[in-house]
Symmetry: C2
Subunit: 407 residues, 2 copies
């Protein structure tokens, strides 16, 4: 195959990291299909459980998988190569690089969030320091939607769709059996996924009636006042609360109850009902409302089978493909960011950005997406989020022609 | 319209009761469409929030709703007329009957579970005692699947489908980030919905690896032993636990933590993460496994928008239609039960059964659906449940061709 520049020849390793998403395998398969067709890439290896799989030299040969298997995996939720929540030490990074070199790996792709971008960046620096000709790319994913440089990230649209459909149904459940219902939503320190609950509203009195985001300090007093007001108005109240809500001094509300911390220093916010139960208990005891319930939407938000946003699935596939294309085009490193084009119709572009620009720090809900009272989202957020989740289920409602009372 | 027997002429009231389901409005709309077309039925009223709406004389005229609205409502989850968890007193029943008579109601339909069948039965007895010519029917629904006389109940198939899809995804999440994952499933004292988690299995090592049902006494010691064994085998473990699991003396495991009781004497088992957190805490502290998570699937199981089992939706519509048909055919009271025809292919019949036969007591998982160890379901259960949920999402998996280690 003719090429003006000499193509870097060697093997490829791809791996997945951090919290799974419903479309993370689209990115994997997008990259693999592109790589298998590339003459410069000899073997396409998948490392099992992220960098841990590299350290353990646990690779599978993805180039041998059939097209049918690849497509089936692409449509299956949750990181098919296995994931990891490991922050490599400098020694780990040296070892990872040594192993990649030993396997003649010249192309490395790491699908993950900001922590994974940081890891990718460190591995790339190690290669550069050793003068090793290497292509090193991060492929973005996260339901938290908190990567810098990105308008939104693959995985968010499907997670947001799940949250919206959950609140659509739960609002109707609460309408049928009125009371106060609190749903705790994932997203760590970014409120996007919790905010997506507002996409559930169809009629003016639909919940969620209150939305609490980690971007605003959470005050129990204000929360109880808000719930009391809504309950007084509608005789019911549906609340969306981010797992990451924190008090004025930045202490997560849930942190008093849960101890576990991962190796990136992140506190365990999911996989426990503690925050919802705490808030429900406060509403019950302080407002004397008897029917108060809390659900924690939990891991279903990121791994539910059989529910994706089509646009999210398409974009996830594309960032995988584009990362490999960028490497083959001669770029040395970077991350494929999704950026939105201005204009009334939804349109995006894929941009190659430096690894460092998406690493470590996270992005938060911009100010214009949160209302002044700090207990709801704005129309600007709804306009932002709607194209990402796809068309939501239709919700019917009776006109409700009243029957005159018989004396 | 010609009729051999003189048709009973009067108004109709229909209402919904108990926990919502994803297809309960199919039954409502099925009954309404049938009733609107019947010459004997003058007005078709919907009572808001079950018998509470009758007591408050809060009716809407469903006969005035457009066909499009009715169809939109049919495809919307959760009781559109509103629901109630009220067990009427004898005085309530006398009053309900007096109000129905005042509104010239000759046809009454109550969509609900076994508590609602009991209420319907009492109202019917009141009418009989007063020599009032009355048609009084129960229309079955419950995600718990615990009504006697029924092979299964409308609402279960869709709830089971949600549970299966949730476990399909969550099993993959647990495979990606191994640990112990405990999911608490609804169903009160019947294990059917929890058992449906087993429909999620595709590959031999897929979870749920353990399934605990309220039909078997729950022993913490045995549970920990089971988890330890599975974790030792697979390096991970996904557990399905019914919210209603009880100890040897019948005391619900969760009851030590939650106080609230409804007016039927049912303890609040849902809307709290207490049971999951309790079990996760035990696994963490006694088995010294660090990554242990619990999710309580919560109200999403009964009201999630945009997910139904097609067969469930169809059958729910049909029981509504058939109840009205039975009343028009001259039957005085009863409940439409779904019974399965023997044979290799899924086929059912709709049978009119006496109200008393489905009232009060509940049905449990038959012995042949539970394994000997009491920690899983049998193939007989899977054969029973598969036709009820419809085709589940395809789950792909790599063949996983290993790469030889480089020396």
């Amino acid at each position: 195959m003719a090429s003006k520049k000499k193509q870097l020849v060697g093997n490829m390793v791809i791996a997945q990291s951090g919290g799974p998403t419903m479309v993370i395998n689209q990115s994997l398969v997008g990259a693999v299909i592109e790589a298998v067709a590339a003459p410069g890439i000899q073997h396409v290896y998948g490392a099992l459980h992220g960098i841990q799989g590299i350290l353990n030299e646990e690779f599978i040969d993805l180039g041998k998988e059939s097209k049918a298997t690849l497509e089936a995996v692409a449509n299956t939720p949750s990181s098919m190569l296995g994931s990891v929540r490991k922050k490599p030490t400098p020694e780990d990074c040296r070892q990872i690089f040594a192993i990649l070199r030993k396997y003649d790996v010249r192309y490395f792709f790491y699908i993950g969030g900001n922590d994974s971008a940081e890891t990718t960046h460190i591995i790339n620096e190690e290669a550069e320091a050793n003068g090793y000709d290497f292509r090193c790319f991060h492929i973005c994913k996260t339901i938290d939607n908190d990567l810098r440089e990105n308008d939104h990230t693959p995985g968010f649209g499907s997670g947001a769709r799940f949250v919206a459909q959950a609140f659509m149904g739960d609002n109707l459940d609460n309408r049928a059996l009125p009371g106060v219902k609190i749903n705790v939503v994932m997203g760590r320190h970014a409120g996007f996924l919790t905010a997506a609950s507002a996409l559930a509203r169809v009629y003016p009195d639909d919940g969620p009636h209150l939305v609490y985001l980690p971007e605003r300090a959470f005050s129990m007093t204000k929360f109880l006042k808000d719930v009391k007001r809504i309950y007084g108005k509608y005789g019911r109240c549906v609340v969306a609360v981010s797992e990451g809500i924190s008090d004025r001094s930045g202490v997560p509300i849930v942190s008093k109850f849960v101890k576990e911390v991962d190796s990136h220093g992140n506190k365990q916010l999911s996989g426990t009902g503690a925050l919802g139960d705490l808030l429900a208990g406060e509403v019950r005891s302080r407002l004397k409302i008897s029917r108060v319930r809390a659900d924690t939407l939990g891991y279903l938000q990121r791994s539910f089978a059989g529910l994706v946003s089509e646009v999210d699935a398409r974009e996830a596939r594309e960032v995988g493909r584009r990362a490999v294309k960028a490497a083959l085009a001669g770029h040395h490193s970077g991350s494929i960011a999704i950026q939105r084009k201005p204009g009334p119709r939804y349109a995006i572009s894929y941009e190659l950005v430096p690894l460092k620009s998406v690493a470590k720090e996270t992005r938060h809900m911009p100010r214009e997406f949160i209302n002044a009272a700090g207990n709801d989202v704005t129309d600007a957020f709804l306009r932002y989020a709607r194209p990402l989740v796809g068309e939501l289920p239709k919700i019917g409602r009776f006109k409700g022609y009243p029957v005159a009372k018989v004396k």
